[in-house]
């Protein structure tokens, strides 16, 4: 018979160390998969994890992909820390991109320093409004935010689809499902000539600093922490539960919206169907791998961004589909959850002979 017992005191250091164990196990697991597929595992892993970042361009791509992941995960950490399960960041990202993109399209033939800030602001507000829907339904109608936020993802994706093939499609675009190119004033400034890394990374870094400050130094952060640990206590202390749910969803939605607007004003430069390769979902893994800690999230977003890049390189050099990236992301989450389980619980095997149970 197997008995599961809760461990009472888990050392903090070990708690932050287990993500590394999960990453190592993921790499080992990946090696085994490559071996079964008939590749030399060492070489394949090298293509996956080393080659993509062995030059300046690769590093820039890594940061480019890490930026939205980090931004979204920071926002999600507010929700997750306070026991609000917002899994619709992908939808908030898309809606942010729609609103921000809409503003950018308004100014498609104009120039001006004020355009980009307007576009960014519009994107953040768009994400925020979209996140408010599950929050309001949860607070006033007791709906389950997991279902609502998830289903809204498809609503926003279909809306985007409709807009880019219909009313917003490029009149000179030969019916391709995409809008006009944004004007240069709506584009994120590039940091280096010839590389795609753009100023959006500063937004992500600012979000990290700001979230650290809010979570650890303010009354709001204290309330989030207490609510996450014990809703009963939060109620007893008299925290305004409903307001807090709305606030964390707004923060989370704004971050996702910023990520969306960062993509369309950065590398993409217009609206089309594929504004995000599921950054909003992958960021859930990033948030947990980073232990919902702002600085942990920076690290986690780099690791997970690498699985995106690695998948692309592996597709080119090994002819395996780039969806192996999702396999790796899945493995990270799997090993993280598994090692967390062993961290918080101990498994005891009791010596019982077979017939004793029946007795």
């Amino acid at each position: 018979m197997i008995k599961i017992e809760k461990r009472n005191d888990v050392p903090m250091a070990l708690y932050f160390f287990t993500p590394f164990i999960a990453i190592i196990l993921t790499i080992l697991g990946g090696g085994i998969i490559f071996y079964i597929l008939g590749f030399n595992p060492i070489e394949a892993l090298k293509f996956y994890f080393i080659t993509p970042i062995s030059n300046l361009y690769g590093l820039s791509e890594l940061l480019l992909k890490a930026t939205p992941l980090c931004l979204i995960a920071i926002g999600l950490s507010f929700c997750f820390k306070s026991n609000n399960w917002n899994i619709g960041a992908e939808g908030q990202l898309t809606f942010g991109a729609i609103v921000g993109g809409g503003v950018a399209l308004l100014f498609y033939n104009q120039e001006g320093f004020y355009i980009l800030p307007l576009v960014i602001l519009a994107g953040a507000i768009g994400g925020m409004i979209f996140a408010l829907i599950p929050a309001i339904l949860k607070t006033y109608f007791n709906t389950n935010e997991i279902l609502v936020s998830l289903m809204l993802v498809y609503v926003s994706k279909l809306l985007l689809d409709y807009l880019v093939v219909g009313p917003w499609s490029n009149p000179e675009g030969f019916n391709f499902p995409e809008t006009r190119q944004f004007s240069d004033s709506s584009r994120m400034p590039l940091l280096f000539e010839g590389l795609r890394i753009h100023a959006g990374i500063f937004l992500a870094l600012a979000a990290v600093m700001l979230s650290w400050f809010i979570l650890y130094k303010t009354y709001l952060g204290f309330q989030i922490k207490v609510s996450g640990l014990s809703l009963k206590t939060a109620k007893y202390a008299g925290f305004k539960g409903k307001t807090m749910i709305l606030v964390v969803f707004m923060i989370s939605g704004a971050c996702a919206g910023l990520a969306g607007v960062g993509e369309i004003t950065g590398p993409i430069g217009q609206l089309h169907r594929m504004v995000s390769p599921d950054y909003g979902f992958t960021a859930i893994i990033v948030a947990f791998l980073g232990r919902l800690n702002p600085f942990g999230i920076i690290f986690a977003s780099l690791v997970v961004a690498l699985t995106y890049l690695g998948a692309e390189t592996a597709q080119i050099f090994l002819q395996i589909p780039k969806y192996t990236g999702q396999v790796f992301q899945g493995m990270i989450l799997f090993f993280l959850l598994a090692s967390d389980y062993l961290l918080f619980f101990k498994v005891k095997i009791l010596n019982l002979k077979k017939n004793e149970l029946r007795n």
Binding site: Y216, Y219, L220, S230, K232, N351
Partner: protein, 499 residues
């Protein structure tokens, strides 16, 4: 056949604490034995060893000269040792019969026959086909006892059996236990209630800090002598002066308190009306599950009910949340001290910050003022003699007594006009209980009021000026405590009526 149970030189050491230190005891059938001790004295460890839940580091258990190897609860069952734990191990949604048939070896028909025999023999009246959820605590306990009796036990161990029972149910239990004893079942009765030891048991073993400090005949003992043995020091007897002055101002007044819930695990409250005077302690008695939880949450503002009027210091506060009520100088100490009044994963000073006021300045302009919170916490720790001065300690490392002192300290250091507490001393040892009781009396002496919701009648009689009983969500009339006896309370708590 006579049963002889011997425990010899049992030791069990946990990291940082010796739970059982060379314990030797002898029990013979035909007598009821009490095992008495404070929380943490090592009673539970000893019982767990006897029931096979844990194994000792040293020593042996002998039943009729036979060395028992108890490495699992199944071994205890096989050796005819039965246990009734304080918390029932029953499936609430299954029927009584289904619960009893789970680990039975015979077919349902003969099992039902045997159960009915037992019911008849001991005069238990329980419907075998209702879900356990509909039974009272006393009936649930009987189901547990029947489960043991079905295995014709030689030894029956009762762990704090009366903590959830009414006076009447307790009396019934004692009658049954005496019957079992006459039939040759050896009974070991674990408790920290002294009066029960004296009225029920023949012999008493007192444990303190893991050791057996005395074994004696109960006829040679009195409450005071046992208490001193248990605590190990002379206890100052506390008794509250009843507050007689009747024409003091009413500080707190509740009118038309109604609460309806669709949740079958919640109790509806029906038209409660009461008031509290300045410097008075209003006790609310009742068996747990009769609406105390809901009442506490409504009084604290965690639940807001429509159409209820709560006047506190001449202001209507029925619509305010707990934090706003605190600003009006109310304070609350809920029953669940471990996961509601405090968060175990938070540090002491963070737990202190849960109760913050505008004037406490813990959070200035939305920012955490850690220095201020820590200073304040240090003061609470020393003023309320909590056994640590480290405000960075996580509160999960505090013992029950120290945690309760911390919580009461946090609630009281702001000098509230009204403290509402719910079972403030459950699970605490005598020393801590005394401290809490003294503190509650002190509040009344300072002309501050308290509402004490408690399932412990002794505590209520000791501390209250007036007492009411809550039963199935209804409040009895409020009685001056000098007119109240434990028997009267018992009748009301069991749903009966007096006069």
């Amino acid at each position: 056949m006579a049963t002889d149970l011997r425990i010899s030189n049992i030791s069990k050491i946990y990291p940082g604490c010796i739970a059982n230190d060379n314990v030797s005891l002898q029990f013979k059938s035909g007598k009821i034995y009490a095992l008495l001790g404070e929380n943490g004295a090592g009673k539970s460890t000893l019982v767990k060893i006897l029931s096979g839940v844990i194994s000792p580091d040293n020593g042996e258990v002998l039943l009729n000269e036979k060395n028992l190897k108890l490495s699992s609860p199944l071994d205890a069952k096989k050796n005819k040792i039965g246990m009734v734990f304080q918390h029932f191990n029953l499936f609430e949604t299954l029927s009584v019969f289904e619960n009893l048939s789970i680990d039975a070896t015979e077919d349902n028909k003969s099992l039902r026959l045997r159960i009915n025999e037992i019911l008849k023999k001991y005069n238990f009246s329980i419907d075998l086909d209702v879900p356990v959820l509909n039974l009272s605590a006393g009936q649930k306990q009987k189901v547990e006892i029947i489960r043991c009796l079905l295995r014709s036990p030689k030894v029956l161990i009762m762990d704090e059996p009366t903590s959830v029972l009414t006076e009447q149910e307790t009396e019934e239990l004692f009658i049954s236990l005496k019957k079992f004893c006459d039939e040759g079942i050896l009974i070991i009765y674990i408790t920290h209630k002294l009066k029960e030891v004296l009225s029920l048991c023949d012999e008493v073993a007192v444990m303190r800090k893991g050791k057996v400090v005395s074994v004696s005949q109960t006829q040679n003992e009195r409450v005071e002598t046992l208490a001193n043995k248990m605590v190990g020091q002379k206890l100052a007897k506390i008794k509250k002066k009843i507050n007689i002055s009747k024409n003091k101002d009413e500080i707190f007044k509740v009118k038309h308190l109604n609460f309806y819930s669709d949740d079958p695990f919640e109790t509806n409250l029906v038209n409660l009306n009461f008031s509290v005077k300045k410097g008075e302690c209003l006790g609310i008695a009742g068996i747990s599950g009769n609406g105390q939880n809901e009442l506490f949450q409504i009084l604290s503002g965690e639940i807001i009910t429509p159409d209820t009027s709560i006047i506190f210091r001449n202001k209507e506060i029925a619509k305010l949340n707990p934090k706003q009520r605190r600003e009006y100088l109310m304070a609350f100490s809920p029953e669940d001290r471990i996961s509601q009044a405090a968060v175990p994963e938070l540090k002491i000073y963070e737990n202190v910050a849960l109760n913050n006021f505008k004037s406490s300045n813990f959070f200035e302009k939305g920012l955490v003022n850690e220095k201020k919170i820590k200073e304040h916490s240090k003061k609470i720790l020393s003023d309320f003699s909590v056994n640590t001065d480290n405000v960075e300690l996580k509160s999960q490392f505090l013992s029950g007594g120290n945690l309760q002192k911390l919580i009461l300290g946090r609630e009281l250091i702001t000098a509230p006009e009204l403290l509402i507490c719910y079972n403030p001393t459950w699970g605490l040892d005598v020393g801590a209980i005394n401290y809490i009781h003294e503190t509650l009396i002190k509040i009344n002496d300072q002309e501050k009021s308290t509402i004490l919701i408690s399932t412990d009648t002794e505590e209520l009689l000791k501390l209250s000026d007036r007492i009411a009983v809550i039963y199935k969500g209804k409040l009895s009339k409020i009685m001056p405590s000098e007119e109240v006896t434990p028997e009267k309370l018992g009748v009301l708590m069991g749903g009966g009526s007096i006069d």
